[in-house]
Symmetry: C2
Subunit: 341 residues, 2 copies
């Protein structure tokens, strides 16, 4: 079924995608349907983060289903709030929609956004919907809360702090390479079936990433407050340099400690790509990178899915990767920066 968006109009479309919304969070006083949402945060600090995703730059609809795209667009915003040691509570969603999209397409996109909101306990409270003359544009702002004085920024890392990372790195980037390879292979082939066997994890990391709510909860439970934290959207190197720059420190990261899934390793081998480069510079893992005081070492070791990969040094020692053979190489921000090159 294909329904033209013009048959509903802007307000009809907004009514459709925001029907049956019920607020989950006590901070949501008034949701969609007015000039602004009304929220209340009497006892906590408020966190606000915005992200924009553009078709052809951040996603390719030939292999990104709209429901997954909606899910991912919401989750990457939640990830920013978790990276501040907070809890996401509300989002506003602004969409630019070109003529080739139907009402059913937008339903799919919102199904993904709403699924993410269901799973992470977030309320959709507003936004804007407009026509786009180019592709699909998605801009999401996430509002969250954090106990007073408990927000964790990028600027608190101290000399001798341990550098920790959750999950594993490079898989989302390898998933993107795989999807691009299969897209290229499909060109002109009738009934093309992509080959993802044994590489499902990579595809999932690219198409349906999760935000590490669990890690923030486990840290709180263990009584550990990180001295600095950031989520890995542009690659480990780039994020680590952000922390060191903001904290005025250096760092040492050990190549052999960087967590990498075996599927990521196999894929890098298959594509003849450098695995460490993929893990250091491949983006979109949405894992948490954080630093904790040295005395937390024993406690951190007990947290499932967190690995200590190095330590903070004084600024004068620079930011270096220690390779398997003991050599030091400067870390560089080679994230896949859309504005460069």
């Amino acid at each position: 079924m294909e329904t033209e968006i013009s048959s509903l109009g802007e307000f009809g479309l907004i009514d459709r995608v925001t029907s049956d919304l019920t607020a989950r969070n006590s901070s949501t006083v008034k949701s969609v349907g007015d000039d602004a949402a009304v929220l209340t945060y009497p006892d906590t600090d408020v966190l606000v983060s915005s992200d924009m995703l553009l078709e052809g730059v951040h996603f390719d609809l030939t292999y990104m289903p709209l429901k997954h795209l909606g899910y991912k667009a919401a989750v990457v915003n939640f990830s920013d709030i978790y990276a501040m040691n907070g809890t996401p509570r509300q989002i506003t969603v602004s969409l630019g929609i070109s003529k080739r999209f139907t009402v059913e397409h937008i339903d799919e996109l919102y199904a993904g956004i709403r699924l993410a909101c269901d799973i992470y306990g977030v309320d959709l409270v507003g936004g804007d919907t407009t026509a786009s003359r180019a592709g699909l544009v998605i801009s999401i702002t996430c509002i969250g809360d954090v106990a007073k004085e408990e927000a964790v920024g990028r600027d608190g890392a101290k000399d001798t702090d341990l550098i920790c990372v959750s999950g594993d790195l490079g898989a989302a980037y390898m998933g993107l390479q795989l999807l691009e390879r299969e897209k290229a292979a499909s060109a002109g082939v009738k009934d093309f079936m992509p080959r993802f066997e044994g590489k499902e994890y990579l595809v999932e990391r690219q198409l349906k990433p999760e935000a590490r709510k669990d890690i923030v909860a486990m840290l709180a439970e263990a009584g550990i407050k990180p001295t600095s934290m950031i989520d890995i959207s542009d690659g480990l190197s780039s994020e680590l340099l952000h922390i060191c720059h903001a904290s005025k420190t250096g760092c040492r990261v050990y190549e052999d400690r960087i967590p990498i899934d075996y599927q990521t390793a196999i894929m890098a081998e298959e594509l003849n790509m450098n695995l460490v480069t993929a893990a250091l510079n491949g983006g979109e893992d949405y894992e948490l990178l954080f630093t904790v005081p040295l005395h937390c070492h024993e406690k951190i070791k007990e947290i499932n899915g967190v690995k200590v990969i190095g330590h903070i040094t004084s600024e004068s020692l620079g930011c270096e990767l220690v390779t398997r053979d003991g050599a030091e190489m400067p870390l560089r921000a080679q994230g896949f920066n859309h504005l460069e090159g």
Copy 2:
């Protein structure tokens, strides 16, 4: 001077446009430079509103200087917060920038955004900057505050309430017609000079609108809390229908009471357009439309720049315009809806 954005990169560009920011509002705890901004609103409710502007849909850079565009993009968001009876405090700005823009272009755009922030006392606290493959994309989220229980929505209008509007209507739309006319006339003409004499007000209303902070302040001073309020972005008819729909009421609006500037009238005459249609359906005036209880009549008359244009009725009486000759015509939402037609 033209500096390519790639020479700075995303983070260099963000550093450049957000340098020297100082927080004006006590609610701004931590501004740009982290995964999220940190705010505090212990004693008030929080308002959140998002708007997206797309090149070729909402603005045309052939006659819209980038500084004006930045100013307008910020102000229209402030307007949404005032329309809730609140005060804008922070904005996040997400930009999608195509290759034809230079660093100096983005400086201009931000100069406008920052000027609007200076004038309205708002802090720029975050956002996102990315490449766009199409034109310029601007998505702004505004956060504001309002005393608890004092937010004014669209849904509180009551039978017999007076319908009030600030300023005058239709001028921004006539300004757009004038700019489009001069753009068409300029095609292929060397050293073309547009003719704006005597019509400066129309051009200013289109290119540099203001949000009615003053009206919200005057209402508070007079001890008047509107029963409903909305800002006029899509035209008087459309907004009045929003209020009546949300409040489950009807309304009567008197044609001869609709405030129209003489430049708007002259321009409509020149272009052979219906003046009332322009005032009812022309968008982007960013005036405030609100309802107050009947007993406020004397107080409202004393507020400079506010006019009573009609009254709320029971729902069964419908939403009608009373023409100069006493006939009734149903109000229709013929706003210039980008998703339709």
